[in-house]
Symmetry: C2
Subunit: 353 residues, 2 copies
Amino acid sequence: MATAGEEVPNKRVVLKRYVTGFPTEDAMEVVTGTARLAVPPGSSAMVVKNLYVSCDPYMRGRMTKHDRPSYVPDFVVGEFALQMGDGSTFLLCTLSFSAWDLTILWPPLVQILQALVNFGVCKVVASGHPDFKVGDLVWGMTGWEEYTLVPKPESFSKINHPELPLSYYTGVLGAVGQIVGQLAKLTGCYVVGSAGSDEKVNLLKTKFGFDEAFNYKKEQDLDAALRRYFPEGIDIYFENVGGPTLEAVLNNMRNHGRIPVCGMISQYNLEQPEGVHNLFQVVAKRVRMEGFMVFDYFSKYYQFEEEMAGYLKEGKISYVEDIADGLEKAPAALIGLFTGRNIGKQLVAVARE
Amino acid sequence: MATAGEEVPNKRVVLKRYVTGFPTEDAMEVVTGTARLAVPPGSSAMVVKNLYVSCDPYMRGRMTKHDRPSYVPDFVVGEFALQMGDGSTFLLCTLSFSAWDLTILWPPLVQILQALVNFGVCKVVASGHPDFKVGDLVWGMTGWEEYTLVPKPESFSKINHPELPLSYYTGVLGAVGQIVGQLAKLTGCYVVGSAGSDEKVNLLKTKFGFDEAFNYKKEQDLDAALRRYFPEGIDIYFENVGGPTLEAVLNNMRNHGRIPVCGMISQYNLEQPEGVHNLFQVVAKRVRMEGFMVFDYFSKYYQFEEEMAGYLKEGKISYVEDIADGLEKAPAALIGLFTGRNIGKQLVAVARE
């Protein structure tokens, strides 16, 4: 391990250009900068070594330049950029090592984006913060790079269950589809999954214990497929897809049904999103649709962590990961989410320890 | 007034053919049948003389033949049709006079539709029901005709405030736009109205006390108009329009904003409803959209009636009506809702007393 203050090479995944339409790997680039494994004197920042980073569909939105501020800041193209705090950004985390002393000198500066950022599991290698010691295992919003300077360590959480595979902590808040269905089963629901390959359909039914699952790519008529599995209608649809799937679901909702809206992956790569034409069903069936974001529920995280750790250890929840090895494979792993290449939660192992 | 049991002419508005696209008056026809001003011996039905009937946009949906059951039954074309109870219809009310004794002989029969039906204010002219006496003023789901035999009088409510104009009772549950905005003002909201003519815009601001109002037909860019009136975003959008208006609103919602969905009048006459392309805003802004129907809240009706009667008598709520005189004018009055011809709550005076 590098000694404190030493300057080391720092491989990172940067955004080369903003994306419209379907993203390709060459929108990103793996470059090598440098990192200093120390925090500025007097600072309460920390430096982490990144172990696992999560690949999530919502990152696609950050690869596009928006006219108006989005719910998360756009990524910044290139290797050096400043971003000022305006109160609307939700987490401040990645800071360039080549400008590391700016954390001290220029308080309004909140972020120098040099790499893509997302949730990851990390080990603390330097810290000026009383709550975080060298060697601590943590997770939080970090860079797609080997080392990240974290100006605000308070935004990170400790790994409270090191007896679980470390990598699970990248997915505890991200691997939505497989977890939601299993939690629904635990509460007694009849659960039907929709997936894009027979292999995944099989996994849903055998490994995750869904009551039914179907391959949406093989269904000529989604509406009919849903009617087949839900002859009396759907009480709860966990929305992660959008577009024509949502339309078919709306036609099959039951009166007073509920649609928590987590994401709409089918729409993220379209230059013009598809229209949903039957929203009147929301009235006819008195449906509640409500969007949510994990950021709004961080206060419940510890409760969730305990509950989920218990389920995992008791074998009540199964968890399947798809781990890409090394930052070089990170761009392909991210793109693969949109073709459905991954089986299970997609993440990148930056380093195993 | 006709004596009990007498057979009298009964003018009624019937649906001549099912409608696709924009409805025209000639989809309806005013015909004259007969009515008997008595109830079958031993029956608990009642016969009412219709005074005022309400014109509401949702009726458009009932003028189309649906493949699957809709939230309210489709109207039936022609002058005679039977409809059986399957548990999904919500109110059973209109019964043909020429087949009036079927109410006794054939209990599974729930409706013989001979006229369009909707909420109306009526006077009881014959009754076998202990709670309803001849001369009582009532309101409920009735026929677009002079006299209606009501097999289930329990679905009707008494007029508890005869000191108010009788016609108000057709609109108490229907004249949504003007009432919602005023109720919002009473609870302290900043209220902006959108209307389709300068005259209506003026009415919203002067008579109803909205803070602002604009003529959506004169706005080149609805998105920009909403940004102008809501620079910090919209907390609550009462949805009655749909389509491009909903899209513009979604772009301007505030985080955690709410959209009660009452109707989508802009979509009712389109053969293919317009798509809403930016539903992802529901996630990005954690918006709650929830459809509702008045039928689900009838248990709160008396509370609402008292509250509203109080506001009307104290002058805290203003109410504007647009009354068409006579059943002959009913088809035009109904169609006028979709061109925005009416100013205020549209109703038809079948008889004044």
